[in-house]
Symmetry: C2
Subunit: 295 residues, 2 copies
Amino acid sequence: MDKFASMRAFTQVIESGGFAAAARTMGVSRSTVNKLVINLEDELKVQLLQRSTRQVNPTPTGLAFYERCVNILAEVEAAELAVSQLQTEPKGTLKINAPMSFGTLHLGKAIAEFITQYPELQVQLTLDDRLIDPIAEGYDLTVRISQPETSPSLVCQAIAPVARVLCASSTYLAKHGVPQHPEELTEHSCLHYGQIVTGNQWQLSDREQEYRVTVKGTLCSNNGEVLRDAAVRGLGIALLPTFIIQQELDRETLAIVLPNYQPPALSLCLIYPLNRHLNTKIRLFTEFLRQKFGL
Amino acid sequence: MDKFASMRAFTQVIESGGFAAAARTMGVSRSTVNKLVINLEDELKVQLLQRSTRQVNPTPTGLAFYERCVNILAEVEAAELAVSQLQTEPKGTLKINAPMSFGTLHLGKAIAEFITQYPELQVQLTLDDRLIDPIAEGYDLTVRISQPETSPSLVCQAIAPVARVLCASSTYLAKHGVPQHPEELTEHSCLHYGQIVTGNQWQLSDREQEYRVTVKGTLCSNNGEVLRDAAVRGLGIALLPTFIIQQELDRETLAIVLPNYQPPALSLCLIYPLNRHLNTKIRLFTEFLRQKFGL
DNA sequence: ACATATTGTCTCAAATAATTCTACAATAAT
DNA sequence: ATTATTGTAGAATTATTTGAGACAATATGT
C-alpha cells in the first residue's frame, strides 16, 4: 500500500474539504480516495477525519498529522526538483580523456567553445595516448580514434569517419622512389604507431583485394604528430589520419602515397559508461561533439 | 509505485553498500530491491547509483538525493510515532455530557478517580437532562439513562441495567391508601418525568400482562431529584431509578409501591461517535465506566 | 590458474494490490 | 417533497509487485 499516495489523498481531502472534491482534483474515483485514507488510518490506527455523511473535518490528531504530511510532501517535491535541476543544469566537472593529437589539434578549440555555453561547468581534459579504462580511472568521457569496440558497461559511439592516408615528403620520395603497390612498402622506411611488434602490420585494400604488409619501421611512436614531423623531415612513409596532416598536404610538404589503396576505416569514437540514465553533462557534450565533428 | 519504499530501498543500498546486502537486511529478494531502485531512477530520470558488477557507488546526484531521503524518511517515521503516541497517551480534554442526577450522584466521583490515573487528561463534564446530539455539540461521550437506541454514526452501549420502582412516602400512602393494582394509579397524584403530555404514560407489567396507565401529574420535572424530594414530602407517587432513591429507601423515608409490577427496563447507556478507530480517551473512559458500574 | 561463490540484472508466472463500477443509505439544497 | 450529492461497501477487473530461477560478470580462495 502506497503511503505516499495515501498522504497525498489525505491532505487533498482536508484541503478540498471532502472526499468527492479531492477525488475530482486528483482525477480518481471517490472510492480510491476513500480507501487511500482508510488505509492510512488503519496503518496509524487513528481516526484522522471525522465524517458526518455530508461533511468532513479533521480530528485533532488528524490535523496534527496533516501539518506533518504537508511538510513531508513538500520536501519530497523539493528533493525531486533539486535532483532534476541538478540533472538538467550541468554543473560540476566533466572529466574527459582524449588522444594527444586530436586533443591538441581539434578538441581544445571545441571544448573552449562548449564551456562558454555552460559557465557552471568545469572541464578537465586529460590528453593521453594510452588505452585506459574509463570507469576505473573515473572519466566521464573518453575520445578515441579507433574502430568501434563493444564492451559491457561501456558504450562506444562512432561519430565521424577518420580517413587515413599513406604519406611522405617529396624529398623522401625523390630519393627512394614512389611505391606503386603495397608490396613495395616492405622496401621502404615506414613510420608507424604503437610498439615495434604490434603496429608494424599495415592493411591496405583496393576494390578487389586486401594486402597485409609487415613494414620495417625506422621510427614508431604512440603519437601521430611525432610521426608526421618525421615524415616531413623525410624519414619515411607514415600512415596517418588526414586531420593530422591536413596542413602539410595543403602546403605540399607531404604527399599522399598509394592513393588507390585504403587502410581500414577508423572512426572518431566517444566512449562513456553505459547507464540507464545518461548524465546530462555527458549527454550535452557528446551531442555537441557530434554536431561539431559531423557524423 | 510506492515512493517511500523506493526511497527506503535506495538509502538501504547505500548504507549496506550493495543491493544484495540491502535485500538481506530488508528481508526481500534482490530483484525487489533492484526494481525499487530502478523505478526511483526512472521516475527521477537520473542515475542514482553507479553499479560496476561487484560494487555500488552513489553518483554525485545520488548522494545529494540520499541526504534528502534520509531526512524525509526520518520525518515520516517521526510523524507516525507522534500520531501513535498522541493516540495511546490520552491528553487534551474529554468532553462528557450526562444527566443531572446520575452526574451528581455517581459520575462525579467516578471521574475524580479516573483523572487521577491520567494527569495529562482534562475532563469537561456537562450535566444536562436535555436530549442532545453528541456529534453536533462536540461531546466525546454522552451518558444517558434510557433504553438503548440505535443510530447511524453513533454507538450506544448499555453497560448496566437501571432498575426503576414506584415509590412514595409513608405519609402519602397513609393518607391516600396503598395502590394494589396499576389501574388504581389513575386515582393517585403522580410525579413524572418530562413534560405534562409526554411523560404521563406509565407502563407496568407483571408476569402475565402489561398495563399502560395515563397518570395525572401534580408535578412533572426533567430532573429526578426534584421528583424524589417531592415524593419524600408526600406529594405523590414517583417512578424513579433506584440509584436516585437508594438512601431514601434505606432510611424508609420512601417506600416501594406495587413491587410486583415492573416498569420497562432502562439501562445506563454510553453514547459516542461511531468511528473505525475509537479515540483512546473515549476507549479508556468507557472501559473505566464499564468496570466501575458493572455490566 | 582454476574452481567456487557472489554480485546486479533480467524474465516469467503467481500472488497481491489497486482502481473502478455499482449500489446504498444518509443528508443537504431546492 | 424531490433531487442531487455525499461517504462507504462489495464485487470485478485491471495493474502491479513479488520472488524464483537464470545469466553474465567478477571477486575470492586454494
